[in-house]
Symmetry: none
């Protein structure tokens, strides 16, 4: 079963929006047995939309369009779809009711253009959109399948999970498809991992098994794709490879699963060891606290955090002595250590972790260039700091600092050496 | 002049890689008078590549392909291009020399497959790639233009800047092209903005002027595209429309520019009024502090923040009385107000802003369902709280809470009513 994605919107062609919808769909569709063979992106032009949907319906078993379902004049997808199938747009009462309730709840006046949001072609099944005012559409004709979805990512994703995949499942059930396993690895670079730790994997690769390294700022993913008719069969097929990876890279592996993040892995370790954490941030400005609280239930282990951006706040809230700032500067080992210790004590946490550095683009010196960051760790029986050096890019520096801080916490609690990226730890 | 992009590679279809090349190209091409009308993404399949290049050469003035130029077996673009033009692959000596030097420099053995990198179709101009081993190709035939570029972003970008744009410039010089203006609007929904505030814009739309609404979680963008031969002429042409938009929607407009964010706009207002801000966060968990510090130079107005995730931290750090928590609960007006006031006093800031809510997915009650959020504002002469209600989605609730908090700060400081999304403000 093959599928084609049609992404609609001038904003995609002009580079205002990066097409992340297509990559999300590509990944989820291949895993469900509907690999994407083409992604066609067109603008808000009725002619172009009509042409590519028509072509796609002929060439593919499944066509998914995203975008062009909003209430404004440049949103044309629904009208074009009605035209293609010679259907009439009719008012869908449940959608109208839903939209009206939604507007009322939020105290937004209901306007004319919102009626159009509740109109659908009379040959379609309506896919209710719980997060927005544009419902999805599902049309099956002559063996072809067309899903018409909104372009707003969270609305589109919910519709795929709740409405589209259940309609696809019966078609591919029992057939060979690709099962993926995502092994997540932190605190080690991609090439060190593949060349020095894992070594060649050729002996494990068969016609049915492939391996890819997918790098990202926080964690690297080793993705194993196995063709099989069931998850059980797939797991059995790639068992030798998985064992090899765990044997060689075990201490860098934070867990498995596409959606596993470093902050979730740290949360699990904190929960397993019944530890509470508090964070004190300077250069990361709240990002560390933010990613820790992205996980549902994080209040079980995350007590709180303090962003001490101004030196006055470091002094008044975290008891960093004025003399220490004068002698060593805010970006220094003693300040990182003091911040970690103070926040843990202040918030009655078992573990305190801190960041202080020069995120950039300004503020660097010869001795402490932009990208210099100290990470501090404090618990009742261990305290140390790490010095790292990143890039000139402010946001990347924030993200990487957070990654090192989180992985430092994880490794220290479960007592795994070395420190992330082989960094030296400087004891207090 | 119209262009079409062809992105080549299985990794794009499987979702391993997001197609950022296409959006980068879309932006630079429209600005240079070669708007992209389609982006077609295909896999590493000779048949598919041949078909879309053939179609594109017939339909567009310029075709740019990216990807499929590497040394491995799944890199097919060059062979397919030679086939399409009935050309022969010949060894390009300067490229071979460059590659050999590069390998020597890096101490990498030169292997057979690298000879193939130096082969090019005999009908092309070679575009030297200073950052990699695959040169770009330029072919002009029958009025069509084809640029064949590598998929690695920094290699592709350098080739576009140094080789492709100089070849395009003489064609479009002095001709009409599109100039964009991005007007950013916050705290108002897309449909309310277009229907109730702006009204129909048909009177301002000409053949040369178009308007699009681009929604996102934090801000909506009104994008005006004007065809003209210079920026000055473009600004003049759309002057009436711009005036209308500012007249009708002025109080919702946070500024102009493709890259303007809400936190940058708030930062500007704080700087203009010489005010310092501190934030106290519960449900947003550090995100508010984080986005405020994403802007370079934010230390001029952002003093710090406190994530008071546990109630104990709300009591010990923000002086929220135990009795208040017992009587009203943590998600309440008095607690939001106390948090905002306490953090401002603690950190000696002029403005304190707070968030307390139920981010979800758990923790909701009938009275306070998931998505209920209180935003508190405190300054020496104004203090109030807003109650809002969002969705079931935890991360979205965090983002929307931050958007409302930031826009509340902006409007209150510059004294613009109403509150974001028409929310009621409850004074202390």
């Amino acid at each position: 079963m093959k599928s084609r994605i049609i992404s609609i919107g001038d904003e995609l062609l002009r580079g205002d929006t990066v097409n992340t919808n297509a990559s999300w769909l590509g990944e989820i569709l291949i895993e469900n047995g509907w690999p994407v063979t083409e992604v066609y992106t067109v603008g808000d032009s009725a002619g172009a939309i009509k042409e590519v949907i028509g072509q796609a319906m002929n060439a593919s078993d499944l066509v998914i369009t995203t975008g062009g379902l909003g209430p404004t004049q440049d949103d044309l997808t629904k009208n074009v779809v009605a035209e293609i199938f010679d259907a009439r747009l009719v008012l869908h009462e449940p959608t109208l009711k839903f939209i009206k309730e939604r507007f009322k709840e939020r105290n937004i006046p209901f306007s004319e253009s919102n009626y159009h949001q509740a109109e659908v072609p009379d040959n379609c099944q309506v896919l209710p959109n719980e997060y927005g005012t544009a419902p999805g559409l599902w049309i099956e004709e002559n063996g072809g399948r067309l899903a018409v979805l909104p372009g707003i990512p969270h609305e589109m994703k919910a519709l795929v999970q709740n409405e589209v995949l259940p309609r696809l499942k019966p078609v591919t059930e029992g057939k060979k498809r690709i099962f993926s396993r995502h092994i997540k690895v932190a605190g080690i670079g991609e090439s060190t991992l593949s060349d020095n730790v894992l070594g060649p994997l050729d002996d494990f690769i068969t016609e049915d098994i492939s391996v890819a390294f997918l790098p990202s700022t926080q964690v690297n993913t080793i993705r194993i794709n196995t063709q099989a008719i069931s998850k059980r069969q797939a797991d059995k097929k790639c068992d030798q490879l998985i064992r090899h990876i765990y044997k060689k890279a075990g201490k860098y592996i934070i867990g498995e699963g596409r959606d596993l993040t470093l902050s979730k892995a740290v949360g699990k370790v904190l929960r397993d060891y019944s530890l509470k954490i508090a964070v004190a941030e300077s250069c990361t400005g709240g990002l560390l606290s933010n990613v820790l609280t992205d996980t549902p239930g994080s209040s079980d282990y995350m007590v709180g955090g303090l962003t001490a951006y101004a030196n006055e706040v470091k002094m008044s809230q975290l008891d960093v002595p004025k003399e220490m700032l004068a002698e060593y500067g805010a970006v220094s080992r003693p300040v990182a250590l003091q911040m970690a210790k103070a926040v843990a004590r202040l918030m009655k946490a078992d573990v305190g972790v801190s960041t202080t550095g020069i995120a950039g683009p300004g503020g660097g010196t010869d001795e402490k260039p932009v990208g210099t960051v100290w990470i501090g760790f404090w618990s009742s029986n261990r305290h140390f700091a790490l010095r790292t050096h990143f890039t000139d890019d402010r946001l990347l520096n924030k993200e990487r600092s957070v990654a090192v801080a989180l992985e430092t916490v994880r490794r220290t609690i479960i007592d795994v050496e070395p420190m992330p990226y082989g960094l030296n730890s400087y004891p207090a």
